[in-house]
Amino acid sequence: MQSRWASNLLVLILAVAITYGLMKYMPPGGSAGNAPAAPQSTLDRVVATKTLRFGIPIGDLPVAIRDEKGQVVGLVPDIAAEMAKALKVNLEIVETTAPNRIPFLQAGKIDASIGTITLERAKSVGFAGVWVVDGTTMAVLAVSGIKDYDGLKTKTIAAVTGATGDLVASKHFPNAKILRFDQPVTAIQAVLQKQADAVSDDISTLYLAAEKNKALKVLPPLTREPSGVMVPLGDQKWINWVNYFLDDFYGSGVSTCGCGKEVLRKWLKGEPQPLRFNY
């Protein structure tokens, strides 16, 4: 009996000691603590490996979903495909969840992704140009009679963990109960199944969801948010190239199809907001 106690105690002490040691000597911020400026630019890596790995949260339109054949379709896959074509490389779509985008970029698992440009995020990743202007809004059940945001101050709001819908809801509705899921569609279902009073997510996503599901009503936009192409922090060569790509894709059409606006119209099912405007 005695030796059992001793060995257990020893193991417990070892556990605590190793954890403490790891914590003390691990660089802060995990992988981001290591100098993020890679000696080789992502652009070079993409060209050398002949693969563009684009991280996409696959969960809802217009961003991306899987169709009946299991293929990934949507606005972002189309833009990514055009980017790969311009680079003359293969496109590899890496399914990420909204919270994973930044760690994946930092670790070099993906070459690019998309996300709202926030200054907090800009400390960990780089943004190359705006590809769409969206924003955050909330959707409720039409039958609930909720017409504005005052009615939601103490209710239950569903959101996607770490996405701007979550951040906006947490910031503006501190007294509400926030349910966090890893996919937009689950958050929307929470409202449809009356497990949440409202869902906080991108305007484009909720607008399309309301079109498919008449039970939903979309409230006026809370914020206007430019979404940028997310890239590894400090990778200026890659940021420049992506910037030129976006200008070409949405405007000049010299090296790409120049059909950016049509692609946006196709998936947003409406006129896209201007990419540059005065706030």
Partner: protein, 222 residues
């Protein structure tokens, strides 16, 4: 209950099922190999190896599999590795399996009377030979049913790879039901598929256990 939509999506579900089975088999085989190595290390390696390996096993058994999968998938990047969801799932499930299986092996070894070990050593066999050729074979009646039972658990645990986005059965089912808005029917189908995979195996375990026990008892008389 619109079964037509379910039927239309069966090919996708079947592909997810194949991924599930593949994941479970690969993890089981690697877990067994690694588990045997751990058990051998703990039995033959001396006190320090036993303590160290025991610690690792205890850490793996003392944390949730879901967290282990996330640690491997997200943490591998920190040491410069880029793992896909399948690879990360295989690694995570294998390590988890190795920890639990090594305990099963140790239990089985412990069930063989010590006299066997003494006899083996006294006729000049090395400890390794004693373990591999005398003790382990006699522990099979205890180990095999336990391993089979563990495999069933592993089949179910592959569903946790859901959080890595891997297109195993549960994730495929969720994707489909998100598209077709039929959560109840789809989840019943998914549950049914798991049941069809696991239940026959569970019955097989019962039969094997009974047979092994009969044989095992016979051996103890020797």
């Amino acid at each position: 209950m619109d079964w037509a939509l379910i039927v239309a999506n069966l090919p996708l579900l079947l592909r997810g099922t194949l991924t599930t089975i593949e994941l479970a088999l690969v993890a089981f085989v690697s877990g067994t190999a690694l588990g045997l190595a751990i058990t051998a290390g703990r039995t033959l390696g001396g006190r320090d190896a036993n303590l160290l390996l025991g610690f690792v096993v205890d850490v793996v058994r003392g944390s949730p599999l879901l967290v282990q999968l996330l640690v491997i998938y997200l943490g591998a990047s920190a040491i410069g590795l880029s793992l896909g969801p399948f690879t990360a799932a295989v690694l995570g499930l294998s390590i988890n399996a190795a920890a639990y299986l090594s305990e099963i092996f140790r239990g089985g070894i412990g069930s063989v009377t010590h006299g066997q070990t003494e006899a083996g050593l006294s006729i000049g066999l090395t400890p390794t030979q004693v373990l591999g050729e005398v003790v382990l074979p006699q522990s099979l009646p205890v180990i095999v049913p336990a391993m089979m039972g563990f495999f069933i658990g592993l089949l179910k645990d592959t569903s946790l790879a859901y959080v890595l986005g891997l297109l195993e059965l549960t994730r495929v089912g969720k994707n489909v039901m998100d598209r077709t808005f039929q959560p109840f029917e789809m989840l019943l189908v998914v549950a049914a598929i798991y049941f069809l995979l696991c239940f026959p195996l569970a019955q097989l375990v019962r039969v094997t256990d009974a047979r092994m026990r009969a044989r095992g008892l016979a051996q103890a008389h020797v």
